[in-house]
Symmetry: C2
Subunit: 463 residues, 2 copies
């Protein structure tokens, strides 16, 4: 009794027997076409991710870089197969939507509704992808090791926030004579670290559980939180001219309380979790109970203004300490295999490379500022590795390089900045270029500094 | 560089710094809240499916029945946690949406947009669930066995369409004095078989690959196609007073061409598929290549007016004949474990049991007609088993019982019928009741007639 398929078939039949359609047609999207467009999008995403990943693997680059590049190629910058209804994009910007329209008698409005629904569904799938990635990373991380390297990670995180912020802001003010507010915004955008990219590369080269890897992950998590706080400060400074102490205190307390609370609660609930899973007899019990735990923590993190991925990471950390870790790690692999590529391909697909085109005069100013920002972005993070104290045996350059890719918070700065009117379009574009370049430079570089040996098949390396 | 999380965090920050929000707020849903609502919905779905499944397993009923009942309980009929924006339902009918609203300052319009987006996403996830279920069923089926039992399956399918249609239509006209058009509609609704429910129960009791199981699956697939054709005939009869031969011929040819074409093409492409998967070195290669194949066939089936699940089933059948079958079956299990429960819980959640309430006078006429339809629905399918020729060793009652659950096409009749004005609300309700009851009766009955031995843990039984 599949009522879902029923709705589906009904819309099928409506397009089949148009006379029947009057009762329900309107602004809602044809659900048969939405499903068809999601299926097509997933095929495009998987094709791009595997083609890019396999090529990068063969030329000894990290596969995740191939997924990003594959995303760029199918995305808005090149082929326009995978376009999202953000900004000025409509169904007629999407090759996939135009392909879908062939053979159906959808109206332009109907197609626009399908385009919006498909974008919504694929976006949520890609968000689930990064949640599952961070859950897997948490599972493969070692809480004890993370706490042990905690002081080093904290120093790396703080230095990695202060250095690029100071260098970037002062440089823009004194070298480029920008006014103070956009300079602070751009400087703040330099503080972020993309935990997703870095963790994926570390997993790919089998260094996630090394001391360097755990310092990078720990520092990246702290950076995510610091980034949220820095943005709160900067945004309130821009809007009200003063710093809203309450927001900062609230964010710091809620982040600390969430992470510590999740880990303590997790330790308390662990015996019940193991007992519950052992008691259950139906298929998928371990996976569903664990995912429920991860989704609840992600939900809480999301709703208290942190990031959902922090919740998923905390859930992974907690469950990694149970006796189910091994079994769960094995079961999560296929799930991650189908969800995580959606995230990386979508990141690539949403990246609009047209801001890099020097033939467009308005891009040039941004390109010069961008060149400066990229240099500061790299220097500001590479130095962090050398601040690690008391561990002469560590690969300090690797730690610094691991912190280079900017990400979520970096782009949030660009977005919030341009929405608030504080950033000119060229500075905004410069920040986006900085985020793109650091993200694409870091994965191959990280691989080089870790002096990765001759490639084996990836199954053996990762996980 | 997660632009997705960026969009997310931006909406976060908009609710945080409302002054920044003016630029983008509007009729679009807050993507941070959409993600939060999807995460919550998934937790509710998994909780309902496992609670229901475990209870049913312990009292020796099929777990899938528990998932359906769990869905009914969290759905529109009882708790109202999982409600879909269909019919007259709005965000204030959904307890989950009201919970989500606590602690956020969303406007009612904003919440309505989140409600719509969450419904869209969960609906697509549940459609992906039934696609993956049918892909798994196809993988576990044996094409040679299916072709071997083809004649028997064809007889079962045809008898199972003709008998209930004739009995139902004549009974309604002569016993209940309904006019001819609604009688034909109701009779046609009796012809369907829900392949999803039946296949899942067969897998749960380990009888999917038995001769009985393969006859049921083969007949259910044919029934799905026959149902689409019957609906085309009936609907054109109602609308134009004549039968549109072209549509019928088109549907029959496209269904036959699709199934045969998919299997032949699959046989041709099989060596390339194996070679491609063996050549690939990055994680998840087998799974992603196979899912791409399944999604492409699902897309084609969907777009030529058949059902996406037929494409997924055909893809599974084809890949089952390759040497990768075993490995793929193992990797698809965790995927099915997280997707398939979404389908069954959503089916339950969308079932509105209020049509069963005899205290509401308008329901009573429907209930009497429903009682008649349920009896015809059961008899009309049970007899089919006894038409199986040349196989005295088969459990013929089991075959008939396996055909009982109605489904997609049955509900499509109710939907199309009431939309076209041919069905009165009470006849419409009677059809829905018939679909509900046959769906809920069949799983435990099927288990009884297969004389299932004492329960082992389900892992051993299924797959």
């Amino acid at each position: 009794m599949s009522i879902l398929t029923a709705t589906l078939s009904m819309t099928h039949l409506y397009s089949y027997f148009p006379l029947l359609a009057t009762a329900t047609e309107g602004e809602t999207a044809d659900s048969a076409l939405v499903l068809a467009s999601v299926l097509l999008s997933l095929v495009v995403i998987y094709f791009a991710s595997k083609l890019g990943g396999e090529i990068c693997f063969r030329i000894n680059l990290p596969p995740v870089l191939g997924e990003l590049v594959g995303g760029v190629i199918v995305g808005v910058s090149v082929l326009g197969l995978l376009v999202f209804p953000e900004g000025d994009f409509h169904a007629n910007n999407s090759l996939l939507m135009q392909f879908l329209q062939l053979g159906t008698d959808t109206t332009p409005e109907g197609l626009e509704a399908v385009f919006a629904a498909q974008g919504e569904v694929i976006s949520v799938l890609s968000e689930l992808g990064v949640i599952i990635l961070l859950f897997e990373i948490g599972l493969e991380s070692d809480l004890k090791e993370l706490i042990r390297v905690g002081p080093q990670a904290a120093v790396v995180a703080v230095v990695g926030v202060v250095t690029p912020f100071t260098l970037g802001t002062l440089g823009l003010v004194y070298l480029f004579h920008l006014s103070i507010v956009p300079s602070i915004f751009a400087g703040a955008a330099l503080t972020a670290t993309s935990i997703g990219i870095t963790a994926k590369v570390l997993a790919e080269i089998g260094r996630l559980s090394s001391s360097e890897g755990q310092i990078i992950i720990g520092a990246a998590v702290l950076d995510d939180i610091l980034g949220i706080i820095v943005l709160a400060v900067v945004a309130s400074l821009v809007k009200t001219g003063e710093i809203q102490i309450f927001n900062i205190v609230y964010l710091m307390i809620s982040a600390a309380a969430f992470l510590i609370g999740a880990i303590l609660m997790g330790r308390l609930l662990r015996p019940f979790y193991v007992k519950l899973v052992d008691e259950m007899k139906t298929r998928g019990q371990l996976l569903l109970v664990s995912l429920c735990f991860a989704f609840v923590l992600s939900y809480i993190a999301q709703i208290i203004q942190l990031e959902a991925i922090l919740g998923a990471f905390a859930a992974g950390l907690v469950l990694a300490e149970t006796e189910k870790r091994k079994e769960l790690e094995e079961q999560i692999i296929p799930i991650a295999d189908i969800f995580v590529p959606i995230f990386f391909v979508c990141v690539g697909a949403k990246t609009d490379l047209s801001v890099l085109n020097p033939a467009i005069p308005s891009n040039r100013e941004g390109l010069i500022v961008a060149a400066f920002l990229v240099i500061v972005a790299i220097i500001g993070k590479v130095v962090t590795g050398f601040t690690v104290f008391g561990k002469p045996e560590l690969n300090k350059l690797a730690i610094g390089v691991g912190m280079i890719p900017r990400g979520e918070v970096g782009l949030v700065f660009a977005g919030v900045g341009s929405a608030s009117g504080a950033l000119s379009p060229s500075t905004d574009a410069a920040i986006i270029i900085m985020v793109i370049l650091t993200t694409f430079i870091a994965p191959p570089w990280l691989r080089i500094v870790f002096k990765e040996p001759t490639p084996k098949t990836q199954e053996q390396e990762s996980t």
